[in-house]
């Protein structure tokens, strides 16, 4: 699950990491109030505020979702403009308002799950503020890596090594402490990515009025492990329903894995690998899958019926392909669910059903009695579904 920058920053602050102050505003007038505060803040060396759209997609800056303002009036106008934006299809409902930083130097630092070593890995670079993927292509030598120990985490010496390798210079102590803090954040919330870009040396006015430099997390991106959300119920509240299809929410309720796609052939399959394969074969037969849908193992009739409703909610769907390889899942249960679902179906969509494995013979009898179109092989099922969709479109 992805969470917003402002929420990610709250998690970092809770773990003791240095993050410049900010407030979240839902209206232009709230943004104005926050701007007044930060414009008057004696620490603010730029005399400006930054206003950032809170949406769960990259490229906010290019879309006009990150802007500066020098006065309260301007901040209110800018906030109004950003709150009216839609970025890559997502409405901007909240903005983050904070002092605009005077940036001395930008770094990159993240920690993520490295699958090949089965360990957590830090990625750091002195070329921050740009996409790390771009740095990896253009200047791979500018990126450094460090693995955490699977049992002990990041020892102090390893954090220091990382800090010197990244090149924090005079800020190496802060860099090492931040690296340890990122790992702490990862473990505390079961994240699979904690990314700070930029991690920046900024200049601000100290208590005595003189300019001081410090290393701070200027932006933050955290993604959480969906498998661990059950033990962090407070994090579930950070879910942004705008970033999800309403069908996703419905699918979660029935324990189905559903991903909406652009095509017109609805797919219902048991097992993730087989579901992907079914999509691939639909495409190969000349069609376009409308969704990925895994009904999971041991699905009963009611879950099958819920899956069918989800597929049919998509008005693009012109044909449905059901592909079940019964292991734990019993074919006759699926057949009963399909018969029940079709009885409640509001719109007539042709359906091709293939059920093999456990109780396939019983399923075949039920389906035949209810005159369903069936198929024996996976390739045949895909071809029939594609033909049915084309027939329905004609």
């Amino acid at each position: 699950m992805k969470i917003h920058e402002a929420d990610a920053k709250s998690l970092l602050v809770a773990q003791g990491l240095p993050v410049p102050p900010w407030e979240v505003a839902r209206t232009p007038s709230q943004a104005r109030t926050a701007a007044v505060k930060y414009l008057a803040d004696p620490a603010n060396a730029t005399g400006k505020v930054v206003i950032k759209a809170q949406v769960l997609v990259g490229g906010r800056g290019k879309a006009g979702g990150v802007r500066l303002a020098s006065t309260a009036d301007e901040a209110e106008d800018v906030a109004a403009a950003i709150l009216a934006l839609e970025i890559k299809g997502l409405p901007v409902r909240r903005v983050l308002v904070g002092p605009a930083a005077e940036i001395v130097k930008e770094f990159y630092l993240s920690v993520l799950l490295d699958r090949s070593t089965k360990r957590l890995m830090f990625i750091g670079s002195a070329q921050g503020g740009v996409e790390i993927e771009q740095v990896a292509v253009e200047n791979p030598a500018a990126i450094v890596y460090e693995h955490a120990d699977p049992l002990l985490g990041l020892a102090d010496y390893a954090a220091r090594e990382l800090a010197f390798k990244v090149g924090f210079g005079a800020h190496w102590k802060a860099g090492a402490a931040i690296a340890k803090g990122l790992l702490r954040t990862m473990l505390a919330y079961d994240a699979d990515l904690v990314e700070i870009n930029p991690l920046a040396v900024i200049r601000e006015h100290g208590a005595d009025g003189n300019l001081v430099e410090r290393l701070v997390c200027l932006d933050a991106k955290i993604t959480l492990d969906d498998s661990a959300l059950a033990r962090h119920p407070q994090l579930e509240e950070l879910r942004d329903l705008d970033a999800e299809d309403p069908a996703d929410v419905e699918a979660r309720r029935y324990d189905l894995t559903f991903i909406k796609l652009e095509g017109d052939i609805g797919c219902m399959v048991n097992g993730a690998g087989l579901a992907m394969t079914t999509m691939d074969l639909v495409k190969r037969a000349g069609g376009e899958p409308a969704n990925f849908l895994d009904i999971g193992g041991g699905a009963k009739a009611d879950r099958v019926a819920a899956a069918m409703r989800l597929i049919l909610e998509d008005p693009n769907v012109k044909a449905i392909l059901v592909n079940i390889f019964g292991g734990i899942t019993r074919g006759d249960e699926v057949a009963k669910g399909l018969i029940e679902a079709r009885a409640q179906q509001r719109r007539a969509v042709p359906m091709v059903v293939r059920i093999v494995g456990t109780n396939a013979a019983e399923a075949a009898e039920l389906l035949e009695a209810a005159s369903f179109v069936t198929a024996d092989s996976l390739d045949e099922a895909a071809a029939k579904a594609v033909a049915a969709a084309k027939g329905a479109a004609a």
Binding site: K118, T257, A272, G273, L274, M276, T277, G297
Partner: protein, 294 residues
């Protein structure tokens, strides 16, 4: 011979009295697996599966009483990492963790402990393994198999069943089928299983079934290109139509930053001498084209 499991497998099932555990334990027993013990804390002294299998409170007690040497875990996600540690502590060297939905970070220290103990952990979130005619551990339906000489390794469950059924229908049997699991952090990778198959005298050909995400298929391909050069090798990769940035059901099945695409895996496998199928039903034909005579 076979790999991982065979006639000398003496199995203990952790979570044998649960709904899933009991259902699949019965199927394993019916298949002929030597299922010698079950473990459910608090139910020690009872007998499971119509009195056929003794239940113990701890794995170490089960090992002491029954000389169990292989474990299969059906414990729910919250307790499954601990169940692996319990088997490791009891000295078991082959552990299958079927449980799905375990947080990835929980598995990092567990996988490391298994490595330090010199044990082999398969999974989590895996369907287990079958050595046809000898033993099956996990949830793969026994009916799809046929005894033979092709080694099968896969990240999926039902997709593997599909592929194995196609082979069996074409008269091609298997030495061992291993499902390594679809999670991002798993104990045994494709490469590990390939090393076992390469050393198995009864395995004469290889089927690898991968999917989008990570680079385990590419790593295995690079090794096989050199070390299994003369072995007939075929593969299938699921997820050619999967969009970037979406987890396709398996926690590990995600294309991110342009990495882990089906196209890059297919290219790596073909470069390593694998014939890559467009559909699981093509696997038997490709095996024969690659020179497999079984």
């Amino acid at each position: 011979m076979s790999i991982l499991i065979g006639r000398d497998t003496r199995l203990v099932v952790q979570g044998i009295t649960g709904r899933e555990g009991e259902f699949h334990s019965r199927a394993m027993l019916e298949y002929g697996t030597l299922l010698v013990a079950g473990v459910t804390p608090g139910k020690g002294g009872q007998r499971a599966l119509d009195g056929k299998v003794p239940v113990f409170n701890t794995v170490s007690e089960a090992v002491k009483q029954t000389a169990a040497n292989t474990a299969c875990i059906f414990v729910p996600a919250g307790g499954a990492p601990d169940a692996v540690l319990e088997s490791l502590a009891a000295g078991i060297k082959t552990i299958f963790c079927i449980t799905e939905g375990i947080p990835a970070l929980d598995m990092i220290p567990v996988v490391e402990e298994a490595r330090l103990a010199g044990a082999r952990l398969i999974g989590p979130n895996c369907p287990g393994a079958t050595s046809p005619g000898r033993a099956k551990v996990g949830i793969i339906p026994g009916s799809i198999h046929r005894e033979g000489r092709v080694g099968v390794v896969s990240r999926s469950g039902t997709l593997t069943y599909e592929a194995v059924q196609a082979m069996t229908d074409a008269g091609i049997g298997q030495s061992t089928c291993v499902g390594i699991g679809g999670d991002p952090v798993i104990g045994t990778q494709f490469l590990d299983v390939l090393q076992l198959f390469a050393a198995d005298t009864e395995t004469e050909a290889l089927v690898l079934i991968g999917e989008i995400g990570g680079s385990a298929e590419e790593d295995a391909a690079a090794w096989a290109a050199v070390r299994m050069r003369d072995v007939p090798k075929v593969a299938f990769i699921a997820g050619r139509t999967a969009p970037e940035g979406k987890r396709m059901g398996h926690a590990g099945a995600i294309i991110s930053g342009g990495k882990g695409t089906a196209a890059s895996k297919v290219a790596a496998l073909e470069a390593a001498g694998f014939r890559v199928a467009n559909s699981p039903t093509e696997l038997p034909r490709l095996l024969r084209e690659a020179g497999f005579k079984g």
